[in-house]
Symmetry: C2
């Protein structure tokens, strides 16, 4: 049975999984879940993922949520996925896992909080909280500095000095591209001090194109929409 | 070379690793890092873990942080660790990983925020924030309900219907035992509505004793200290 991927391309972990499957020729069916219409909270979707979140997969009866778990699982079970994505060697694998685990309580939480409280809240019927945005920005900048000093030191194109990307590169870059939705001044202020980050995002893009841009198309469109709204 | 574990037994992920090593006869040396004295922020410790957090390990030159990564790594590389802890089968392994990934942004964050803002803040020179505590309690209760309905359904003693514990059982139970530090009324109000959780904590304790109680001794002592302070 074909792997089913329940996703929304505006969601950063969804994008990581779709790009990963396309780059590696994984046979899968993408089922789009409209978050703004609340489809993730429908009883039908909660049968797939009771957490009511995207992404989720169904593979031959197995239902899985959590994007890092899904990336690891597809890398391990799909034939022909090159070793760089999720290395079989225990030491390299542990280093990738350590970045993925770090991501949850650091870059992920600040990125999600920042975009919600500077741009997206009204779209979900919520109020923006400027103090939460300010705290998230501080934490975001700190996370970007950690990424640069810990995993992008030296001249390597990808994390940990590797010549090819891992699922950690892909997951974290898809988090950072959520910045496409930020207000222009915010992007400039927060990202410009991190040239290594900007170069690494380009490296991951190049290594996974044309799929990277294709899957990010929905995000670019949303960006244009938001920009039009802001200049009204 | 002996595996070095840098830990503090008042830290829940530290406890999980120490208990795991003891139960499985892993040859390791525990190096205690005093968080209240700020030893985790010393230049010497930052050489081990630049994130300035416990736990961390050094294994034959490899430095690793993030407790879930460390548990996976020790389970995979130490001879003789039984398969129930981190199953080799891809499907069972993915289910364990999914719980571990979920933990970060759910039970972990609410548990840490709650204990900080009801008990520990003054010990770290911070002010308690009652609103943050109230929000954390709501999120904690929701996480406990998810654990019961998703992974403790049926009559099995451990997660996912298993007869023996996994690293996910151990990690999440060590998070919940942090509740030993809560005020008595908070424990009663938050934990009592979840009898399956209380039973499962007992099951994990029984499956890992005498090490579980031995490693929790420092927490029980801190609990007695806090109680004495409260009744002053």
């Amino acid at each position: 049975m074909t792997l089913k991927v329940y996703a929304n391309r505006l969601s950063q972990p969804s994008r990581a999984i779709i790009i990963f499957c396309k780059v590696n020729g994984v046979d899968f069916e993408e089922i789009s879940i409209d978050l703004l219409k609340g489809e993730h909270k429908s009883p039908e979707y909660k049968e797939i993922n009771p957490m009511a979140q995207v992404p989720a997969i169904v593979d031959d009866g197995l239902k899985l949520s959590e994007s890092h778990t899904i990336l690891r699982y597809i890398a391990e079970t799909s034939p022909g996925v090159p070793d760089n994505w999720y290395p079989a060697d225990f030491i390299s694998r542990a280093k990738v896992n350590s970045i993925l685990d770090w991501h949850h309580s650091n870059l992920r939480v600040s990125s999600v909080t920042f975009v919600m409280n500077t741009v997206l809240a009204p779209k979900f019927g919520r109020t923006m909280n400027p103090q939460a945005a300010a705290e998230a920005e501080k934490s975001l900048s700190s996370s970007l500095s950690i990424i640069e000093s810990m995993w992008l030191n030296g001249d390597a194109e990808f994390f940990l000095g590797n010549p090819k990307p891992s699922i950690a590169d892909l997951s974290l870059v898809c988090e950072i591209t959520q910045s496409e939705l930020w207000r222009e001044g915010d992007r400039e202020r927060i990202l410009r001090p991190h040239p290594k980050i900007l170069q690494w995002v380009e490296n991951v893009k190049k290594a996974t194109n044309p799929y990277f841009d294709e899957v990010h198309e929905a995000l670019y469109k949303m960006k244009a929409l938001l920009k039009a709204k802001q200049s009204e």
